[in-house]
Amino acid sequence: MNKNFRAAAAALILALAFAPAAIVNGQDRFLGPSTGGPPTGTVKGNTLTYNGTAYKRVDGKVTFPDCTVFVAADSGELTPVGTAPDCVPAGSKAAGGVPAGGAVEEIAATSQPASPAAAPLRLSGLMPEPGLLLIAPIFPVTPVAVQASTPARVAVQAARELPQRAQAEFQRLIAKAAVDGAVRVIVKLDVPDVSNLMAASAAAGAEAQSGAAQVSRLAADGQLRDAIGAVAQGLRAELAGTGFAVNRQYDFIPFIALRASPASMATLLGSPRVIGIEEDVLTTLDPVEPAGDGAAASGESPMYNAALTVIGAPTAWGWGYTGQGWYVGILDTGIRKTHQMFAGKTILEACFASGSAGPGDCPNGTATMTGPGAAAHYPSSYTSFDHGTHVSGIAAGNDGSSFGVAKSADIIAIQVFSKSGSSVVSWSSDSLAGLNYLYSLRGTYRIASANMSLGGSTLYNASPCDSDSRKAAIDALRAAGIATAIATGNDGSCGGISAPACISSAISVGSTTVADVESSFSNSSGNLQKLFAPGSAIYSSTGASDSSFGTWNGTSMATPHVAGAWALMKQAMPGGSVTDFLNALRNTGAGTTGGCSSGRVPIPRINVANAIASMGAYTLTIQASEFGTTDPVPGPTRWVPGAEATITAYPAAYSDFVGWSGAATGKTNPVKIIVNANATLTANFQYIYAPPSSGRRVTNRSFSQLEYIDILTWTPNGANQGLDVNRYRVYVVTNGTPTLLGEVAASAPLEYWHRKAPGASTQYLIAAVTANDREGAAFTITVQ
C-alpha cells in the first residue's frame, strides 16, 4: 500500500474521470514518452515541456532520462529515433541505484495490447504487460500496477515514499474530493534547503531593527520567499488545467492552500514538489461562558481584572515592565479599536477571512486585507463577534482604570474568522496566513507574542499534533523570539487539548480561577499543556460600545494573560528566547488544584513577576535624554549575571546621539555592556540647530545668454557645539517639496551658488548634518 498507493489512487480517480483502461508496470524506470497517438509536448525555444517536466532540446532532439531519443518538432510532436549511445538511464544502478523520491508517470492505456512497434519505447528491465504503456520523466519509481477497464490516457502519479500518515491523508482527501467534487487542502511544498533558509530568515530579524540589519533581514526573507515562490509556481504550473484554485500562498512557510479537484489531487499526489497534505479545516472559537465558574478575588473592584494581581502583573508594572514598546498579535475575531481600552494605542490591522462562500469576508469584500479597518469585528448579530475585543483587552487594554496584562503594549489585530451562518469560523489556511503575516512584521515591529484563543474539536493527548501546518509558522515565530500562546479548549476534558494548542512548539494555556482551581471547562493534557492562567470570571472590553465590558469564562481568556505576560518579559529581557521565558514561567508558577490536576503532572499557573525576577539578578536602568530614545526602551531591564546587553540609541528628528554616560561612555552605537551589577545607562541626545543663513541673487551673462545665480551663505550655529557637524545640505523648495541641491563640507567656505536659479523668488533650506548622517533643523531663506 505504501509503495503503490499514490499511483493506484490517482489512476483510480482519473479512470473514473476518463474511463479507459490504465495499466501500469513500474518495475523499472521507463522514462520516455509513450504513444497512443503521437506523444506531444510543448516546445518553447530549446525547451520541451512534456508531462509537466522540462527537457533541453538539442539539435531538435530530446534525450529522455531512459536514454530514448526523440525528435521534438516545434509543434511539440515527438518522434522516436533511437537510443542515446553513451547514455546511462536515470536511476539505474550504474547511475547510483534507485534514489529515494517520487515519480510522475503518465499512462496511455488501451484495451488492446500495445505492440513494441506501436510504442517504440525502450524498457530496461521488465516489459510492460499487454496494454501497458508507461511514461515517467525523472523520478525512479517503485513497482506499481493499476488496472483499469477501459481505454484511456490516464495520468498516474507513481509512488514516492511519502510518510504513512501523509499517504493516509491523501487517501482520505482523494476520496473526499471524489465525493464532493473538490476539497480544500493545505499542501506542504518540498522547497530545497528550506530549513536553512527559514533559520536564516528568523535569525536575521527578530525584532525592530534599522540600517544594515534590516537590509540583511530583507535579503534573507527575500531568499526564503523566492525559494518558496518558485516551488509554488512550479506546482501551479503542474496543476494547470486540473481545475484547482489557490486559496492562499505563503511567503515564509513552505505551504500553499488550494481548492483541489480530483484531477488536481492526482497531480498533487505525484508532484515532486509536494511532501505533505492536510485538509484545510474549520476551527471554531473556544466557546465562552458568562462568569460563574470562579469569581473575582475578594476585595477587588468589580471593574478590575482580579487575575492581574494573581499573575503578578502589577508588581511587574511597578518595576517598569508594562509592555511598553512591544506588540501583541491577536489572531481572533477582530477588534473594536475605538473601545476606550485601546485609546492611545497603536493598533495594526489585518484580515485573512476566506469566507464560507464568495470572495471573502474582509471589510473590503475579499479574503485578504491589511491596514486601518481591516480587523473591524463583524456585526453583533454574529455570535462571539467581539471575542477578539475581549481577548485584546485582557492582553493589552488600558483605559486608565481597567487594564490588560501588558497595559502599555500595542496590538496587532488580525481577523482570521469568517462568517458562518450566525456564527464565525476560521479556516486553518486563514490562521496560517495570520501567523505568516505576523512573521512578516517581525522586522518592523517588536512583537512579543501571538495569541490564538481558538481551537478545533479533536483533542490530542498522547502526542503533539505536529503535522498541523501551523507548526511551521509557530516554529518560525518562535525562532524569531515570538511566542504563540494557544488556548487548550473548553471541552472540560482531562484527556487532551485541542488543535492547534497541541502543537509542541506552541505555548498551550489552560484556565484556572483566581484561586488557582483549574476551571471546570478547561481541557488539559499532562503531555502537551504548558501553562495555566486565569480564565474564569475575566473582566475585559466587549464590543457593544466603546465603553462596554463583560466578565467571561474560557481558556480564550486565560491565553491572553500569557500573551500579555510575554510582552512584560520581553521588555524586561529583550534578548530572552521563548524557551527562556517559558522555563521561567514554568519554574516560578503556582500550583493548581481541582479540575484535572489529580494524578496529572503539575502544570504551573503563571506569575509574571516571579518569572521576571527569576530571569535577571541585575537591573540595568536605561535612560534617554531629550531628543531621543533607546532600544530597549528607557526603563529598568533585567539581566542575568554576565549577560551582554545591547542598547541602541535612536535620536529623534533633527537630533543626534552624542554619547553614553553612566554604565558606558563614548559614542559607540549600539553599545554592548556586560551586566555584572545594577547600573544606569543614559543615552544623550542633542538637537541640531539650523545655521543662520542669507542669500542674494546676481546676474551672470554672456553676450546672448543669461542666468541668475542665488548665492547662499551661512554660519555655524553656536548651539551645535558638541555635535560633530561635518557638512551642510542645501535644498531648493519647489511647490512645497524640498529637493537636495548639494552638500557643502563644514571645512569649506560656507557658501553655495545655485546656478540657473528660477527667475521668480526661490526658497531654500539649509541644514547642518552630523558625522552620523543626522540632519538638523533647516534655516529657510527666500531669494529674489
Partner: protein, 205 residues
C-alpha cells in the same frame, strides 16, 4: 528673406557692371592707336579692421577686436568708368571673453556676407567713396555654462572710405564700415553690428 537679399546683391552688382560697361562702349576719340583701357575693373582685397561694437555688453564681455575680410569689387575702370562699383565681401569676426559674473570662458563668432554699391566721389589715385548695402550675419556664442547659442539674420551696412591705386594693379583701401543687425539667439536681444575701421590691400585686374 535670405534669397531676397542675395538677389538684391546680384542686382546691385549687375547694375554696377552695366554702368561700368556703358562708357567702355564709346570708341576712343583721340588716341585710336593706343589700346583702350579695360572697360571694367575687378578688384580683390583683403581687409583687416578693428571692430567697435554697437552693443556695450559685447564690449564688456569680449572687448573690441579685429575683423578679417575678403572683398570683391566690380566696377568701371577708374579712368573711364562711372561712379558705381559693386561690392561683395565676406568677413570673419571671432573673440574670446569671459562671463560677466563668474568670468568663465566664452567665445563668440560673427561671420557676415555683405554687399552693395559704392559710389566713387572723384577720380585719380585716391578716390573717396561711400556705399551702402545689406548683409547676412551668422552669430554663434559658446561657453560651458550655457552651451551654444546661434542665429543668422539679415542686416544693413554703410561704408565710407578712400581707395588708393598707386599703380596699375595695386589697390589700397582705407575705410570705415558700420553694420546694424539685431537678433535674439537665446535669452537676450543683442546688437551684433558696430563700427569697423580698417585697411584693405588688393589687386585690380
Amino acid at each position: 528673406m535670405r534669397r531676397v537679399h542675395v538677389v538684391a546683391l546680384l542686382v546691385m552688382l549687375s547694375a554696377s557692371a552695366a554702368s561700368a560697361q556703358t562708357p567702355a562702349a564709346k570708341p576712343p576719340a583721340r588716341r585710336p592707336s593706343k589700346p583702350a583701357p579695360p572697360p571694367m575693373s575687378v578688384m580683390v582685397l583683403g581687409h583687416y579692421g578693428v571692430f567697435l561694437p554697437s552693443d556695450s555688453a559685447f564690449k564688456g564681455i569680449y572687448g573690441n577686436g579685429g575683423v578679417f575680410g575678403v572683398e570683391l569689387r566690380v566696377g568701371s575702370s577708374p579712368a573711364k568708368g562711372g561712379p558705381l562699383v559693386g561690392w561683395l565681401e565676406a568677413s570673419f569676426r571671432q573673440r574670446n571673453g569671459s562671463l560677466s559674473f563668474t568670468h568663465e570662458a566664452t567665445k563668440v563668432s560673427v561671420n557676415a556676407i555683405e554687399g552693395g554699391v559704392l559710389v566713387r566721389l572723384g577720380r585719380g589715385t585716391a578716390v573717396p567713396y561711400v556705399g551702402a548695402g545689406g548683409g547676412y550675419y551668422a552669430f554663434a556664442e559658446t561657453n560651458d555654462p550655457f552651451g551654444q547659442a546661434k542665429q543668422s539674420k539679415p542686416g544693413y551696412c554703410g561704408v565710407f572710405g578712400v581707395m588708393i591705386t598707386p599703380g596699375k594693379t595695386l589697390v589700397v583701401d582705407v575705410r570705415v564700415k558700420y553694420s546694424a543687425v539685431s537678433m535674439k539667439p537665446a535669452d537676450l536681444t543683442i546688437k551684433v553690428g558696430g563700427l569697423t575701421g580698417g585697411i584693405g590691400v588688393g589687386f585690380r585686374f
